[in-house]
Symmetry: C2
Subunit: 204 residues, 2 copies
């Protein structure tokens, strides 16, 4: 329910709930946050909140989806860029921002674990999100490669996957080492992928 957006009121409320819940998880972190906790923050009862979602699991996946939407609203270049430099700059901005919100990093990781179960609502989310991200990145990388900015030997699709893997993996390390400079790590990967001599890679 609320899924096939009955009335505008319902939709708006759902959005409001998600924004608030997102802020709560961002601020307080997520160590097994309960629906009830979030409900209180929103000013609803547990049952009242769940009226807008099919289940707890769906709720949390939607929170993560909302994070993506918020991020992308401000940084479309992080995923759809005109050239490699723009992708690099835009994406690193998003990374720097997200690295400062450990609660959401934890939520991301936990739901990723849940996505191992094909029945879990996070499965579809991660599956689609991952493919979408990689496709867009691969496009930009392919163009950059044609323009001689990316090493010739590397498959753009694989490069995109690598970028995703480094991002996700760095987030895991971040859980244990909050001071880790995640953006720097990702920059290193960009440097490695760039054609030696072109762009900030140079070094050597």
């Amino acid at each position: 329910m609320a899924r096939r957006g009955s009335y505008a009121k319902g939709i708006a409320k759902r959005e409001e709930i998600l924004r608030t819940a997102l802020a709560v998880v961002a601020r307080e972190g997520y160590h097994g946050a309960s629906v009830k906790e979030l409900a209180e923050a929103v000013g609803l009862s547990q049952a009242g909140l769940l009226h807008y979602f099919d289940s707890k699991d769906e709720l949390f996946v939607e929170i993560l989806r909302t994070r993506d939407e918020v991020d992308m609203a401000g940084h479309a270049e992080a995923v759809q860029a005109a050239d490699l430099a723009e992708l690099r700059t835009g994406y690193l901005e998003v990374v720097r921002h997200n690295a400062r919100v450990p609660g959401l990093v934890e939520l991301f990781t936990r739901l990723a674990a849940d996505s191992a179960n094909p029945e879990h609502p996070s499965r579809a989310f991660f599956s689609e999100r991952g493919a979408d991200l990689r496709d867009r990145w691969a496009d930009t990388i392919a163009e950059a490669q044609a323009a001689g900015q990316v090493r010739a030997g590397i498959d753009p699709a694989l490069a995109a996957r690598l970028l995703q893997a480094v991002s996700d993996g760095a987030q895991m390390q971040l859980l244990v080492e909050p001071e880790l400079d995640m953006a720097h790590l990702i920059e290193t990967l960009f440097d490695l992928m760039q054609e030696p001599g072109a762009g900030p890679a140079a070094g050597g």
Copy 2:
């Protein structure tokens, strides 16, 4: 209890439990496996099994630790190698093996999420394991660099971190895409790090 290894019997039994539990998670997967489930597989009651561990959480962390021990028993070169080629070959073997055991990949990811909580027993595990792995890799990479096999511009410690990040991140993708060729992805990273012209990198 059982922690400060009272009698040999206790230790041996604990080991036996862990081996069996490891096999069960590997085979059946891990969607919220309960202590009771594992207990049955071991031929103990839930209370009987828990006699050997402080808590459920500790039990699962120990299962993961056992996996590492088993892996390393057969593939010490995956982490402590004489040169880059040996590291590459040895580590890829471990990766190929682990990629075929989704249940353990899920357990790994779930406990990684738990490690966001400093009180959780997985925190110490991931913290130490990560640092240890990176240190050893960095050593090998530094030597390889001195021998001209690794790109000069890259910091060995950072390269090691990158390898860890790609590994962990690829595992996350594996949860959703079991057919993903994780080893190939990691090989791509090795290729990127190697000095162009030296070793299997060449291409381009």
